[in-house]
């Protein structure tokens, strides 16, 4: 079975987004108040003092600009099957700019002496490289002296909920399935993360944030499924999102209703024959999750400005949008129906913040407007690279606030904001799109592989249905989608409406050393003019 977004929620994102352990010491009552471990909360004056000490050390050592980040990450995963797993990580990283060269030093020690060592080390590293060829860095402006604290809006901090309560919550689904659906096993589990972070810079900013993420998964397993049939599936009702425990708890009824729905979905599939794929060109419908995957793997990757200018050439690859200045505002990258925006303000978004990792307040911005490329994802340094292009269009360069990092152990890097494929009008549903398919293919759970410039792609997962007269009539074995990115986007003929819009979690691994950051991708289902359907197991 291929990995679906559902398993991703539980095994992928939560596990990988780094660290975390509960404020297990101070907030869950394992240790009583007055315990020996008194780590300062991110909002306490001690943290500010540490941060300013690091910035001062870098400045006095000769940095033209420096910033410091302190991150304290907690991660907890709770599963009736595997129990409880906690991870905690505290890190601090100082970045310094000297004559256009960056140095970065990081460690796990939040001590006054260490702040000074890291500040000096970062400057020394920058200076070592600054002795070579000249390099220019134009940092786009940031509002200096910004200050404040921001937290993911939530009602119930998941780390404040007793583990027993969460275990009972999930255990109930197993019991419910056993009692109501004989022969079906259900397993529910959840994971949550909080990252507290502080940022200070020589520009005068000091800001702190506490970002919480939680997701719950529900899987069902039908051991006595017909031979050779798919016998398990999972729910994507509660994907990883920036929410509190209420996001899971208040959806108990809806999550329970997923069990009969998933069983019915499996049984409906079993009634459809498995047939060898009939390769050819077919009208295509993708569901919202498949479109989120497509957005993320193509336009969402290609519009990272550092990637477009080659900065990932020796790692994951570059971008097909590789001449930013010339392409901006002129290049048609998709059907006129397509508008794609970047936002770090949408409620629940995994990349939603008040300040990015350079102290910038992100704005909402349009990457693709009516099918035309209109902007790139930027950081302060990256926005400087677009000065010419922005000037041509009468705009002032400004960072869109895409600086992000896994933790302070990594230098900040350009990572995608939450991405949003704007819904179509009027309110068309997935079923409406399918009803319009006289003969075509519908893909559920699409997974994509792309080349290292996102110019062309292939499916690496997903259930392909043959559709006739608007009805699913068969499942195709080893079917695959093979496409050229821009041709596919230009072939889009219809989009689902606002009612079909869904957010899905996404994660990007990037950089050298590699690090990861999470964001959300929102999309609607879509229909395309004929696309190439292949037998993906067939050799030449």
């Amino acid at each position: 079975m291929t990995q679906t977004r559902r398993t991703f929620v539980i095994t992928g994102t939560v596990a990988a987004v780094a660290a975390a352990a509960p404020p297990w010491l101070r907030r869950t009552g394992v240790l009583e108040p007055g315990s020996p471990r008194e780590v300062p909360r991110i909002t306490e004056p001690d943290v500010r003092a540490l941060a300013l000490r690091a910035v001062d050390a870098a400045r006095s050592a000769g940095a033209a600009y420096a910033d410091v980040r302190l991150t304290h990450t907690y991660d907890r995963k709770i599963s009736p099957r595997e129990g409880v797993r906690d991870v905690e990580e505290m890190t601090v990283g100082v970045r310094a700019l000297v004559k256009g060269y960056w140095g970065f030093a990081a460690s796990p020690a939040w001590t006054a002496d260490e702040m000074v060592r890291l500040g000096h080390e970062a400057v020394d590293l920058a200076k070592v490289n600054a002795s070579g060829q000249p390099r220019v860095v134009d940092l786009a402006p940031v509002s200096a002296h910004d200050a404040g604290h921001w937290e993911t809006p939530l009602r119930i901090d998941p780390f404040s909920v007793p583990v027993d309560e969460i275990l009972d919550f999930h255990q109930a689904f197993t019991v419910y399935a056993r009692e109501n659906f004989p022969g079906v096993r259900a397993l529910s589990e959840c994971g949550f993360t909080r990252q507290e972070k502080a940022f200070a810079s020589t520009a005068g900013a000091f800001v702190t944030q506490a970002l919480t993420k939680i997701g719950a998964g529900l899987g069902i397993f039908v051991p006595n499924a017909p031979a050779g049939e798919i016998n398990n599936t999972g729910s994507d009702l509660l994907p990883l999102a920036a929410r509190g425990w209420e996001y899971v708890r208040d959806n108990e009824g809806a999550l329970r209703a997923e069990i009969p729905r998933l069983i019915a979905q499996l049984e409906a599939d079993w009634r459809l024959p498995w047939r060898p794929v009939d390769v050819g060109r077919y009208d295509l419908v993708l569901d919202a999750a498949g479109m989120a995957e497509l957005v993320d793997a193509t336009l969402g990757t290609a519009t990272e400005l550092d990637r477009a200018l080659g900065y990932e050439a020796n790692a994951d690859g570059t971008s097909y949008l590789d001449d930013p200045v010339a392409m901006l505002g002129t290049l048609r990258v998709a059907s006129p129906l397509v508008t794609l925006t970047g936002t770090r303000s949408t409620p629940g978004g995994l990349a939603t913040v008040q300040w990015d990792d350079e102290g910038v307040r992100p704005d909402d911005f349009t990457l693709v407007k009516d099918g035309v490329l209109t902007d790139y994802q930027t950081t302060r340094e990256a926005a400087g690279w677009l000065q010419e292009a922005y000037a041509k269009r009468g705009l002032t360069p400004r960072s869109h606030g895409c600086a992000n990092a896994q933790s302070a152990l990594y230098a900040s890097l350009l990572f995608p904001p939450n991405l949003r494929l704007e819904p179509g009008q009027p309110d068309v549903s997935l079923e409406d799109l399918l009803a319009g398919l006289d003969r075509g293919v519908y893909v559920r759970g699409l997974g994509l592989g792309l080349d290292f410039q996102q110019r062309s792609g292939w499916s690496r997962g997903g259930l392909f249905y043959e559709v006739k007269g608007g009805k699913r009539v068969a499942r195709w074995q080893h079917a695959g989608l093979l496409f050229r990115t821009t041709e596919l986007w230009k072939a889009l003929t219809a989009l689902g409406g606002p009612g079909s819009f869904r957010w899905a979690p996404a994660q990007r691994a990037k950089g050298e050393p590699a690090q990861q950051a999470a964001y959300s991708v929102g999309a609607v289902p879509a229909r395309f003019k004929p696309q190439t359907i292949i037998d993906s197991w067939r050799k030449a």
């Binding site: 505290m90 080659g310 950089g511 050393p513």
Partner: protein
């Protein structure tokens, strides 16, 4: 600072810990540090049972460059501590990177709480600690540990210079790392500790118009065994020679795969040398779908193919124990084409083989080669393709290891014994098992870029490799 920072907390910590933080040049925890740390943790344990810890304490010095200029120089360190508490058959664990006394106490208590939620396994019985003899691989290099940041800067400048002089753009990354890895577990019988170093350098040279791209890379435990100048030359030559590629039809081609390309195909094969237990006992689990299920003793590849792990090979050193103390030993997986061993754990050895020793797969491998050079292979080829490396690989069928992926950073058409032109990249759909049975020639094995686990791999020539579509990416 007020009295609430971690700094002041540490004034109450033991002298060894104070010494640790008093020494800024100390890049990672020593064996004594780790043992003291775990002894301290054990003091906080309550409710009997066992305390098991793993520590990975590391330092890394890095330099990344883009468009012919250093883009980031970094120095990073971290202490990754795993604390497990096993109480009456139930296990609970936590991970933290804070090693002050109060954090240790909190971690131990949290592990005990989590053990409370773990499932008790009544069948679990602990064997008396095995007295394994562990190998001592050569995985430490003083010059790597001591490398100053200035040496990285000079190396990068020397790598960039030829590309810049040729009007090309260089992008790359070089890094050295030094670390200590400890496993301290009563079930193992004695504390285990391995210090190790690692080094890597890789670069991509592109022409500013984006019509050509070349890559070269190397990794080793020892920085002095990496030749940055040679890598720089190689990536530049490949970039220049790959410019303005022409399109060719996909189809079956004779291929000459450079060692890095062979590695991309063989590494998933090595990853499947596990699970003898499952391969012999399971009839309906996922393991009977693995490629080597019930093939022990059978011919699975061309008789010139031998793939072996040897931690004592100076180019193949790995940490000689697993996180539960099982020893890593030399083993030949495929011997002259025959599958001779699959990995298994100690429990399987005890129960089924009445033996104490497991066979552990650490993914480091040497694939035997031949005497042909890549030039020999080209000369002997009427029509074929020379492949620098593969990228963006996806597994399509785990049972046959059928994969898809694309060529990258240099693909050339060979006609009548010579390279005739650069061609556009192709997507392939192929199984490495097919390639290992279609070999025409093998060259001398060499160390390839593989920072996660060392590999020594030959170039090879194989027939009927399946390319399934053209791609425009360069």
């Amino acid at each position: 600072m007020s009295g609430r920072t971690r700094n002041s907390l540490r004034t109450a910590t033991p002298p060894w810990l104070a010494a640790l933080f008093g020494a800024p040049d100390k890049k990672f925890l020593s064996q004594a540090d780790c043992e003291a740390l775990v002894a301290q943790a054990e003091q906080y344990a309550q409710g009997g049972g066992e305390t098991r810890c793993t520590v990975t304490s590391w330092w890394s010095g890095e330099l990344r460059w883009a468009r012919n200029r250093a883009s980031l120089a970094s120095d990073r360190r971290n202490d990754e501590l795993g604390v497990g508490r096993r109480i009456q058959g139930a296990e609970g664990g936590v991970r933290t990177n804070q090693i002050d006394a109060a954090s240790l106490q909190g971690a131990v208590q949290a592990a005990e709480r989590n053990a409370h939620y773990g499932e008790t396994n009544p069948d679990d019985h602990r064997e008396p600690p095995p007295r394994f003899d562990y190998l001592t691989p050569a995985i430490w290099s003083d010059p790597t540990f001591a490398q100053p940041a200035g040496e990285r800067a000079r190396a990068a400048q020397a790598i960039i210079a030829p590309a810049e002089q040729a009007g090309m753009l260089s992008f790359g990354f070089l890094a050295v790392q030094a670390a200590g890895h400890a496993v301290i577990d009563p079930a193992v019988g004695r504390p285990l500790y391995a210090p190790y170093t690692a080094a890597q350098c890789s670069l991509t040279v592109r022409d500013p118009e984006g019509t050509g791209s070349g890559w070269a890379g190397a990794s080793s435990c020892d920085w002095t065994r990496i030749d940055p100048a040679a890598l720089a030359r190689r990536a530049l030559e490949k970039c220049l020679a790959s410019r303005h590629p022409v399109t060719i039809e996909p189809g079956r081609y004779t291929v000459i795969l450079e060692p890095q390309a062979v590695h991309a195909l063989v590494r998933p094969v090595v990853g499947d040398f596990y699970g003898r237990l499952d391969a012999e006992r399971s009839t309906d689990g996922p393991f009977h779908l693995r490629p080597f299920y019930s093939k022990l003793g059978l011919q699975v590849a061309d008789s010139r193919v031998t793939i072996a792990q040897d931690p004592l090979d100076p180019d193949l050193g790995v940490i000689p124990f697993t996180d539960d103390g099982q020893p890593v030993r030399p083993v030949t997986w495929i011997d002259r084409g025959m599958l001779t061993h699959l990995a298994y754990w100690r429990n399987y050895a005890l129960e089924w083989l009445h033996d104490n020793d497991p066979i552990v797969n650490r993914w480091g491998y040497r694939m035997a080669g031949g005497s042909a050079t890549v030039e020999d292979m080209i000369r002997s080829t009427q029509r074929g393709l020379l492949v620098t490396r593969f990228s963006n690989l996806d597994m399509l069928d785990p049972q046959s290891l059928l994969m898809t992926g694309v060529t990258r950073d240099g693909l050339w058409l060979i006609e009548h014994g010579t390279i005739s032109k650069a061609v556009k990249n192709l997507r392939f759909t192929e199984s490495p098992l097919f390639v290992l049975n279609s070999i025409e020639m093998l060259g001398p094995p060499e160390r390839v870029f593989s920072p996660d686990s060392p590999a020594i791999v030959p170039p090879l020539k194989a027939h009927d490799f399946s390319f399934t579509s053209t791609i425009d990416a360069i």
